[in-house]
């Protein structure tokens, strides 16, 4: 066993950012469990046998080179994978112990519980900022006691309230890219998901906006399960409790290693993980 972490700067970040939650210790509920996920596009197998557990109250970062199936994997977690023609999958995804792919499951309910933030900010162009935040209520035909309270709460949790409280009736498209992405986060929060999937939410943003979103993630993590795909190792180290490393050697993507973030960045068990997090390839 090495005495010195292989990537000292990253592991410092990962250790210093917060006290690590131990597996299970932060768990407030059962969470989300992926069991033996395989995914295909047409005949092409792009994911092989991914099993990963996500505890309630933790942030899990998924890292790995482009094209190794990270997006495909998280899209199987809220049944967005089936949206693509020719897509197929095998395996189980248990949400609070219940398989979301079970016959007869109401898929819209699943997507309410497992929200998603996309890589490119995508506020609804025909709607104002306020309408964007509350769009999920309309789409899913949910009732709420007090819309204004919900609106403020969601924007507050997404770290956007102070910037937009005076122009809630402006169009979402009038915000900057970083603000738009936080608007999209607020929009996902309005339907009170238990899990939030974020697919490279900061890859189109400037460093300042990225920082704001990371703060938002920290903030949210105590009350939900967050799964974030990122290409930014620093970001993974800063925001996540656990990190999973995906890799494809030209064939289907596989989960090479998963563990507490500090361990992945300090003493990875697999040489491929070590090469990736030290920037020797990928």
């Amino acid at each position: 066993m090495e005495t010195k972490p292989i990537t000292s700067s990253l592991s410092d970040v990962a250790n210093a950012t917060k006290a690590r939650k131990q597996p299970g210790s932060g768990a407030l509920g059962v969470g989300l469990e992926a069991r033996g996920i395989h995914a295909w596009f047409g005949d092409k197998l792009v994911l092989r046998d991914i099993s990963l557990d996500f505890w309630y109250g933790t942030v899990t970062a998924l890292i790995g080179p482009s094209g190794c199936g990270k997006s495909t994997f998280i899209r199987t977690l809220n049944r967005m994978h089936e949206f693509i023609p020719g897509a197929a999958m095998a395996g189980e995804v248990l949400l609070n112990g219940q398989d979301i792919y079970e016959q007869g499951t109401d898929v819209t309910k699943i997507r309410l519980k497992v929200g998603m933030v996309f890589q490119k900010p995508n506020p609804f162009p025909s709607m104002t900022i306020a309408d964007n935040v509350l769009a999920g209520l309309k789409l899913a035909q949910l009732k709420t006691e007090n819309k204004d309270d919900l609106l403020e709460e969601c924007l507050e949790r997404a770290g956007l309230w102070n910037e937009v409280k005076d122009r809630l009736s402006a169009y979402g498209g009038s915000l900057s890219g970083g603000q738009q992405q936080r608007l999209c986060i607020a929009r996902s929060l309005a339907v009170r998901p238990e899990v939030l999937l974020m697919d490279e939410p900061c890859s189109a943003l400037d460093p300042g906006s990225t920082l704001r979103i990371e703060e938002t993630i920290q903030h949210l993590s105590s009350s939900m399960t967050i799964i974030i795909v990122t290409h930014n190792m620093q970001q993974a180290a800063r925001v996540s409790d656990y990190t999973g490393f995906f890799l494809s050697d030209g064939g289907p993507g596989e989960l090479v290693e998963v563990g507490p973030t500090s361990e992945i960045f300090s003493w990875p068990k697999d040489i491929r993980t070590e090469n990736y997090v030290t920037g020797r390839f990928g």
Binding site: G115, N122, F124, S126, K138, L139, Q141, L142, S188, V191
Partner: protein, 348 residues
């Protein structure tokens, strides 16, 4: 304010000197063509134009060659051809508009919009009678066509772009084929499928049905293109928020495409507003205002125009030109409305 000597400039624009040079080039070319017409047997306006075009190319080529080299000189030939093409395309359009205004002017008066022709013949003095019946008839029939085509056209487009069901390919093929159907065929179809077997008489409703056959493919195809432009991100975001596909389409996709869909509708209206052949077949024509689309023939602007020309007297032909002017103005306004709507969306 701090630097008064700094003036905003546009270095990418032509300087006045360069503009002058272009004018000089054109003058030289004109002079050359004039001399050639003088000294050779070539005569006439066409010879002038052709020679002017050729000498412009040569003069521009020479100027660019000596100033900047062979590549810009070659480029100038292409520019000359494109400019000539533009002029050839635009001149007839303006000449048509000018002709219509010129001919239609005599028949234009306020009575047109307040009177019909029930107590006047086409041969009466131009101030008497009007085309109110035609305007009302066109309005009603185009309105009926719109009521039928709007839901069918947009739902077809939604089926093709959003649902993408197993019938997408045949429907797409059908819509494309339908948009090529000659208008008289639409009229004949309604005539043989509805008028002869069922109603046995022409009426505004039959006219509206025939027009809707022409309108549906226009609206469906334009709407399809508009919906295809909506990024799939938005659909995914709607579904990811717990919306069903239908709620996502109606709350997110269609509102996002709203101005484009309105453009599609306006283009559909403009497409059928001037259709003559099917109306002659199935709605007949009348000289009195007939607001009832279910009973008795109904006049229309194209029919009014056609009738005036077939009557063939000076007055009746002047009436037709006035009718053309009114019809074209309406279509023009529709197109401008469509342009403005889609333009204002691009700015957003």
């Amino acid at each position: 304010m701090s630097n008064l000597t700094l003036k905003p400039t546009k270095p990418w624009k032509r300087t006045p000197k360069q503009q002058l040079l272009i004018a000089v080039n054109l003058l030289v070319a004109a002079a050359i063509s004039f001399v050639i017409v003088l000294v050779t047997p070539m005569k006439g306006k066409l010879a002038y134009l052709l020679l002017f075009f050729i000498s412009t190319i040569i003069v521009n080529f020479a100027e660019n060659y000596f100033k900047s080299g062979i590549a810009p000189a070659k480029d100038s030939i292409a520019t000359s051809f494109v400019t000539a093409g533009l002029i050839i395309a635009v001149v007839p359009i303006f000449s048509i508009l000018f002709t219509i205004f010129e001919r239609g002017r005599a028949g234009l008066n306020f009575n047109l919009f307040s009177h019909d022709m029930k107590s006047n013949g086409p041969n009466d003095p131009l101030g008497q009678g009007g085309l109110l019946h035609a305007l009302v008839g066109s309005g009603i029939m185009v309105g009926i066509a719109l009521l039928i085509s709007l839901p069918i056209g947009i739902l077809t487009a939604i089926y093709l772009t959003e649902i993408k069901g197993i019938f997408s390919r045949p429907i797409k093929f059908l819509v494309q084929a339908m948009s090529g159907v000659p208008s008289i065929v639409a009229g004949l179809f309604i005539l043989s499928a509805v008028v002869f077997p069922i109603t046995k008489s022409s009426s505004g409703l039959m006219g509206g049905l025939a027009l809707s056959i022409l309108m549906i493919p226009t609206i469906a195809r334009t709407s399809e293109e508009v919906l295809l432009l909506i990024p799939s991100d938005l659909r995914e975001a709607g579904v990811a928020l717990g919306g069903t596909q239908w709620r996502t389409i109606s709350l997110i996709v269609v509102p996002a495409a709203k101005s484009g869909l309105i453009t599609a509708i306006i283009l559909g209206l403009a497409r059928v507003a001037g259709e003559t052949a099917p109306l002659i077949l199935v709605s007949g024509g009348g000289d009195a205002v007939n607001p009832n689309p279910f009973h008795s023939p109904m006049g229309s602007l194209p029919f009014y125009i056609w009738k005036g020309f077939t009557f063939g007297t000076t007055e009746s032909i002047a009436r037709s030109w006035a009718g053309i002017f009114v019809l074209l103005s309406i279509i023009f306004i529709l197109f401008i409305a469509a342009r403005t709507l889609s333009g204002s969306e691009e700015k957003k």
